[in-house]
Amino acid sequence: MQDRKTLILIAPAFAWLTAFMVVPCLLILALAFFRRGIYGGIDYEFTFENFGMVFDPLYARIFLKSAWIAGLAALIASVVGYAAAYAIASMPRHRQPALLFFAILPFWSNYLVRTYAWIVLLNREGLIVGIARALGFDGELPQMLYTEGAVVLGLVYNYLPFVILAAYAPLSRLNPEIAEASRDLGAGGWTTFRRVILPITLPGVATGFIFVFVLSIGNFVTPALLGGGQFQMIGNLVYAQFLTANDWPFGSALSMVLIAVMLVLLTLQTYANEHASTGRQSTERADG
């Protein structure tokens, strides 16, 4: 009876994901093993060539570059996001929901609009340059838009809320008596943070880090808009194979490798989370 109920409840989501997620992925996987036709079509002839090409130094470098940018964005977002989550979790309980709401507020506007806003801020005649000029700075300002830094900035900005939410969960669950116990045993504030609070809440940060990394490494909108085509990330490369180069098999192979990398990371993260102590303990007190 219970099994049937579970089945009925899970069936629609399962069917949806199978039809629109698993099947397309399998089609892409299949495509990756065929040869590109001379005029851009597909020759249905089995080959490993596409995967060989992925590891060609030219493309491998793009892979590494993407991982570097995604890693940098994930690292910065983790540090900044953890700090914000820590601050929110230390506020009085009743104020925390409002602060979390503000943290995720940018999600309510369109990704493209948010990214375009950075162009307005960063370009040569943009707001930041304007403010610097108004403050009397008349030297040469470095190029901000269409740089690697701009891409990292855009990614951090867009995915920061994920880290805040992921880090907030374990921080808000942490029994305040645990930090007090550390102080009571002779530790200062910094030692308490480094040896007690951070290790207990790290799984949350790891979740946020992996999230930002996975979302960033496959991103193609931010590098296109804020990188200005100065360099390609793996997402742009896939995009190009399908829409301009018309090499679907190679594009598929790239996608598969990317998906494989993400799956490995997500699996590692799930495993780490299951084996981490959560620091959840009774927080109730019998007396005021």
Binding site: N175, E177, I178, E180, A181, S182, R183, D184, L185, G186, A187, G188, T191, R195, V196, P199, I200, A276, S277, T278, G279, R280, Q281, S282, T283, E284, R285, A286, D287, G288
Partner: protein, 351 residues
Amino acid sequence: MTTLLSLRHVEKHFGHVRAVNGVSLDIRQNEFFALLGASGSGKTTLLRMLAGFEALSGGQILLNGKDISHVPPNHRPVNLMFQSYALFPHMSVAQNIAYGLEMEKLPRTEIRQRVDEILATIQLSALASRKPEQLSGGQRQRVALARALVKRPQLLLLDEPLGALDKKLRGEMQLELKRIQHQFGITFIIVTHDQEEALVMADRIAILQHGELLQCAPPREVYEHPANRFAAEFIGVMNVIPVARDGAKLTAAEGSLIRADIPDGMGGDLVAAVRPERLRLDAHACENRLSGRILATAYHGLDLQVHIETPAMPKPLICRVTADAAEARSFRTGDVLSLGWSRADTRIFAA
């Protein structure tokens, strides 16, 4: 005995609420001291002030004559065993215990030796590498105690240390705590809402109500001579009989005379109070008597509690009859029963 800790007019205000209101106490070296009170009595706030987690709104705390009122928790020779135990979930039992010694920057060999020593004392050597989540409630409690004790503080504070344990284990741990306190020769201050716990363990008990110190005395004194009606009813069970006063004569509502010593200077409405175990079945031989109908009986193994409805009291009169006496005669609901007690066992309080 020398005084270890002095509280002088200690105050704590939260906004308009006076959580702790002018508490003055002297706690002696090697004493097992209990802060007893109901929820919101200020006992935990007071304990947290001693540990350094709450700033004082007024007054002073002296340890060995030195003012520690503004010393942060990590610089006080005082340790607190938290109610939730607050064990570090990512560290093993041994790491939890070693943490406080590492903070003192002691040599590794000494830390290992002291951790091993205390693990043996609390009989947890076999579980040294376990994580807290792999321990039972009683084991966690002992780890928390060991983690605080290993620092050899001058004063150990315990916040409801037995609150999370089941009743049987609690009884064992009460004696265990006393034994450990004796063995280590450290002053213990325990916060509890459980009067029985305080009576069993403490050398002296301080009863707190609404942030104020009501009475501070050894258990027997607190039980036999409560400071006022609240203390009388808070500690153990107390039968409270409203009485009318005419000079030195006290009369219960249904007319029976209550003979008792009235403390000097007591005015206004009065009540007479007597403990259930002081009530006797041979009422005719006693100075004070009440009778009524049996409302209910409650069997406790060791004794039988008989609840008697009497016009003299708004609440039923409770009497404890020993198992022997309960066997000798039957107590049926609805039967009329006369109970007596002596003048010496009668206490008079302001209503």
